[in-house]
C-alpha cells in the first residue's frame, strides 16, 4: 500500500537496497558479504530526522506540553529543523531554530520556505557567544517549548519502533548495522531493538571528524555527550575524517548511482571497513547502513566536483554531517 492520508503518515517505511557493486567480492564458495543501504532520504522532507521530529512532537502533545499555536525552539544544524518545520506547519505550531552560521545555504532556504524562523549562533570558536545567546533566548521566552533532540527519549524511540523493525523485517539475516553518531538517537533506538531480537548483531557508529576550526573548544571540560548516548548499545565506534567521507560519497554515486550527503559517506566508510574485515575472516555478513539524507543540500559546497583534495578543502570548517 503506497497511499497515505497525509504527508505525516508517509514517514518511514523506507526502501532497503542492495549494493552489489560496492560489496566486496568473495571467492567462489566463500561466505558472502553484502552491503545494504537504508534510504532515509525517501522520507517526507528528505532525511532520517522526519522520524524523530514526528515522534518528539507527538510525545509532547500526548504529555500536554504542546498545545495548538505554541512556539517550538530547537537547536539544530539543519535536518531536524527542516523536519520539525514541516511537522509544525501541518500541526499548527510556530518553529524557531537556533543554528550555527556555518551550515549550507540550502538548509537555511529550506527552513525559511517551510516557515521556520532562524536565530544564528556563531560558528564554533565563538562558543562563548553562542552560550550567552542560547541562555538569553530561553530566559526571554520561558513559554517556548524545547523538544531538545539530544536528550529526548522519543527521538530514540522513533527508531526503536520503526527503523529497527523495518530493518529486521527486510533483512532477517542482518549481521551489522552502521549509522552516523550525532544526537545518537538513530543508533540507540535501532541498536536496542536489533540487539534485543538478536544480541549477535553488531551496532557500529561512524562519527564525523571535523577540522580544528569546527571544534574550537577552549578546554576538555567544555565537551558534550548527548544525554541519549549509552555506550553499551554500541559494539564499535569509528571516527571518519573529511577526506574519507568525501571519497566514499563519490564512490557511492559512481558505483551504485546513490547520491548521498557527506555524513553518509562517513557511514559507508565504516560499513566498508567491517565488510572487508568479515570477508578477510571468511565470515558471512549482511551489513546495513543508514543513508541519512541525499546530496542536494550540499551541492553548493562544491565538494561533489573537482579533485578529492579540492573537495576536502571546500568542506573545511563546515558542518558536513
Amino acid at each position: 500500500m503506497a497511499r497515505f492520508e497525509s504527508l505525516l503518515d508517509a514517514c518511514g517505511g523506507t526502501p532497503l537496497v542492495g549494493l552489489p557493486r560496492l560489496s566486496p567480492a568473495a571467492t567462489p564458495g566463500a561466505p558472502q558479504v553484502r552491503l545494504w543501504a537504508k534510504l532515509e532520504d525517501r522520507n517526507p522532507t528528505g532525511s532520517v530526522k522526519d522520524r524523530a521530529a514526528l515522534w518528539m512532537v507527538r510525545a509532547a502533545e500526548e504529555a500536554g506540553r504542546l498545545r495548538p499555536g505554541d512556539t517550538i525552539l530547537e537547536p539544530t544544524s539543519g535536518n531536524t529543523g527542516i523536519s520539525l518545520a514541516m511537522v509544525a506547519k501541518l500541526r499548527g505550531y510556530r518553529l524557531v531554530c537556533v543554528m550555527p552560521e556555518n551550515v549550507s545555504a540550502e538548509r537555511v532556504q529550506l527552513l525559511r520556505m517551510y516557515g521556520a524562523e532562524i536565530i544564528f549562533s556563531p560558528a564554533a570558536g565563538g562558543s562563548n557567544m553562542a552560550v550567552s545567546r542560547a541562555k538569553q533566548i530561553s530566559a526571554e521566552h520561558p513559554d517556548w517549548v524545547m523538544l531538545f533532540q539530544y536528550g529526548n527519549e522519543a527521538n530514540a524511540r522513533a527508531h526503536y519502533e520503526t527503523t529497527g523493525p523495518e530493518l529486521l523485517r527486510d533483512l532477517p539475516t542482518i549481521t551489522h548495522f552502521v549509522a552516523g553518531l550525532g544526537t545518537t538517537g538513530t543508533l540507540m533506538g535501532t541498536g536496542r531493538y536489533l540487539r534485543e531480537k538478536n544480541p549477535e548483531i553488531e551496532i557500529i557508529a561512524a562519527e564525523p571528524r571535523y577540522g580544528e576550526l569546527v571544534y574550537g573548544l577552549r578546554n576538555i571540560d567544555e565537551g558534550y555527550v548527548p544525554e541519549l548516548y549509552d555506550a553499551t548499545v554500541l559494539t564499535r565506534r569509528f571516527s571518519v575524517g573529511t577526506q574519507d567521507a568525501v571519497l566514499r560519497t563519490r564512490q557511492l554515486v559512481e558505483t551504485e548511482g546513490l547520491f548521498v550527503g557527506f555524513s553518509t559517506g562517513a557511514v559507508a566508510h565504516a560499513a566498508l571497513a567491517v565488510a572487508h574485515e568479515a570477508l578477510k575472516a571468511g565470515r558471512r555478513a549482511d551489513v546495513a547502513f543508514l543513508v541519512a539524507d541525499a546530496g542536494w543540500k550540499y551541492l553548493s559546497t562544491g565538494a561533489y566536483g573537482g579533485t578529492l583534495s579540492e573537495a576536502e578543502e571546500a568542506l573545511e570548517g563546515q558542518l558536513w554531517a
Partner: protein
C-alpha cells in the same frame, strides 16, 4: 615501537605546540605514561583520578574508539596512529550552547 599521536589544539600547551608527537607502549595506558615523561601534564588531562578516560575525551587507534577495544588496556602495534579528540556532539550546534540549553531544561 613507535606510535604517532595526534594532539588536539586544546592540549598542545603540553606538547610545546606540536600537533603530532611520537611515543611508545604496548597499550594506551603505557603510551600515555610514556608520553607524560616528555610532555608533563598531558596524562592528567586525559585520565581521571579514578584512573579512567575522561568523559569528554575520545581516543582512537587508527580511527577506532578505544572504549570499544579495551579502553586503556587497548593493544597497540608498531605503526599505529593514535588520535586524541574532545568529545562533542557530531553535527551539532556549538556544543557549549547545547549544554547551556540543556541546563535550562533541567
Amino acid at each position: 615501537m613507535a606510535i604517532e599521536v595526534r594532539i588536539p589544539t586544546i592540549l598542545r600547551q603540553y606538547t610545546g605546540g606540536a600537533k603530532v608527537v611520537e611515543g611508545t607502549g604496548d597499550t594506551i595506558a603505557d603510551l600515555l605514561t610514556n608520553l607524560d615523561a616528555s610532555h608533563s601534564g598531558l596524562r592528567a588531562r586525559l585520565i581521571t583520578d579514578e584512573g579512567a578516560l575522561h568523559r569528554f575525551v575520545n581516543v582512537y587507534i587508527n580511527d577506532e574508539d578505544v572504549r570499544f577495544l579495551g579502553a586503556l588496556d587497548a593493544k597497540l602495534n608498531d605503526g599505529d596512529t593514535v588520535t586524541i579528540l574532545p568529545a562533542v556532539a557530531g553535527g551539532a550546534l556549538a556544543f557549549a550552547a547545547v549544554e547551556a540549553l540543556a541546563d535550562n531544561l533541567r
